[in-house]
Symmetry: C2
Subunit: 413 residues, 2 copies
Amino acid sequence: MIDVKQANLTAVSRMVAARPVLRGISTAGDVIPGLEPDMLLHAGPPIAWEQMSGPLRGAIVGALLFEGRASSVTEAEALVEAGEVRFSPCHQHDAVGPMAGVISPSMAVYEVEDLTHGHRTFSNLNEGYGKVLRYGAYGDDVLERLRWMHSDLAPAVGAALAEGDGIDLRALLSEALHMGDEGHNRNKAGSLLFLRHLAPAISRLVSGPEVDRILEFLGGNALSVLNPVMAACKAMGDAAHGIEGSTVVTAMARNGTDFGIRVSGLGDAWFTAPAAVPDGLYFPGFGPDDANPDIGDSTITETAGIGAFAMAASPAIVSFIGGHPDDALTATLEMYEITVAEHDHFTIPALGFRGTPVGIDLQKVVELGVTPRVNTGIAHRQAGVGQVGAGLVRPPIEIFEEALIAWADRYLG
Amino acid sequence: MIDVKQANLTAVSRMVAARPVLRGISTAGDVIPGLEPDMLLHAGPPIAWEQMSGPLRGAIVGALLFEGRASSVTEAEALVEAGEVRFSPCHQHDAVGPMAGVISPSMAVYEVEDLTHGHRTFSNLNEGYGKVLRYGAYGDDVLERLRWMHSDLAPAVGAALAEGDGIDLRALLSEALHMGDEGHNRNKAGSLLFLRHLAPAISRLVSGPEVDRILEFLGGNALSVLNPVMAACKAMGDAAHGIEGSTVVTAMARNGTDFGIRVSGLGDAWFTAPAAVPDGLYFPGFGPDDANPDIGDSTITETAGIGAFAMAASPAIVSFIGGHPDDALTATLEMYEITVAEHDHFTIPALGFRGTPVGIDLQKVVELGVTPRVNTGIAHRQAGVGQVGAGLVRPPIEIFEEALIAWADRYLG
């Protein structure tokens, strides 16, 4: 007989014990397992071109232009339609990417190592706000920025990281949660801590006027650290994965069409349903009609006990996503109801340093009818437009119900 | 007949309207009004050598060694006892300094300009934690660091500041309060925002290996921004000063022996009484018996509506100064009772973005028997030891009572 409770405690204690350290920067095709030259990775569960939404298609076009596999949008789309491009979820390659989450073989990626379990995970580099590939933009400015990031930014950050013992991302997140971040939509403090770690070595190693632009780029982008943080959360989720009998959710991810989850005791299966449109604040000139359904691997943060789960640490976030600071408190308090444990390392000062709710339990979600809360950016539904707002969303409850049925089939059937 | 209420509203609205911008770095003797070559400025109200406590005496010895006016402790003390050194409070020279607050003529100082009222204020550079001049230490390591700060750090920061429009310190503080700082004892976020402003230009303007040390020093010191912040608060306090009939406190400062206040409608008079020993947490190996009475000009932060007055924005601070996060909330809520207004620019997310309590009203303090709360570092009572803890303190109520009597004499008598 399966001891679910014990299995879940094992899963969560592995999640909490994971200690992801940012080791360096490499080229995706060299380090990401199974990423073949004809392949593009994307956010969320598996999806075919025909089902993809605007922003994901846009990012794929942009990546093919960046790779030099196409020299125009028409060529890129023709290449895809001729079946020359294979698609695979980041999550199936130890990787994660925000929004469209497209990672192509020649892109620079962060390498994170979980010191506790020895596992390596990856994420791409953050491009900042505005028109960016991850929101499906692929104009000349977008590609130019990407090329600069790969020719200048990545080598500088990589050289700085190569010098030391890496950056302990769990420690960085612990500190950032005491500085008003929740680690998903608000990474202001974490990105400055990231800058503080990198700036001295970069300033010494990089000569010439480029160093100014590099530090400006890293320091001016309040999401600089989001991608390494996501890779860290992926390491935490993976550490909890594969525990026989466990009903703990180890990945939540959206591809812009479907929301998918994976469960510790249910192997590599994805449980998916159509993704909802987030509820939030829109930038001037945009509204709900412009919004794409929920997209991105960034829900790995909530999976690991931060993001909306840590929102009580981040009352200022409501000015960005809407609502009142009390709602931030409520969000965290509600998540204690559907989780297995309280985090040892991620604590919330305003709750008397209580640990964040961690380890979403499928059983509790279904029993209480309470789905995980998620903070998110909102993408325009058309390729190439970019971000139009930010808000809150929840995954469809059906995927938890289906997963619980699958669990029952496997362990009780 | 004096309209006190209107006078106080005028004073506070000037305090809130002040917009201090960090303009650059200069040499104290060149820019601070009235700072003569034989003079040393110090924190708090006026005080003679005979009445000075250990840490202030230590800082004065250190400053005379730094100036080259003495080459040993004995020589420095002999110089003072021969009447060769004049002392004057920073506050009487448009300046402020944390803890001992000693500013000597050849020291580098930050120059802050209040864009609204055109007034300039000054503060020295922060040396970081441990054995430092401001805690009365004067060993070779202390003097060596000071010399490096003046030969390398100050020119680099000065050059970076000279390039742009300066750093809007009111805006920086607004942001830092949404990132868990209270602006007095906790300046973690503010110091990183400061680093973000400076790092790109410093890295471009400074060549050689020193740039590494400079960025490491600025980024590694969570109090880097405290001194410019204090000069900013001094500008706010000064903006509110001199309003006929006003009972608003425009300066609170301690010299390690006495706690003194100045009041908007009472000219240059100081109202003083013996300073208390702070109540707080001590570093390992130290306790209340080691503590010096309260010292420093840093209470200018509380005077301007931050520090302990903004503690509700900074629940994590209790791990440093003692108490429970609820106490941080209570501290701010209590300060609304003795202040005139709520700040337009400094807001507290956890209180639904309510403005911080600003403008301490003498009348309310005396009427309610509630004195201002102050966050502070705790200095060892002997010269040369340094910081031994951090905690909370309140000024003696007598100084408010005396000031109110003086106010009545002047305006009602």
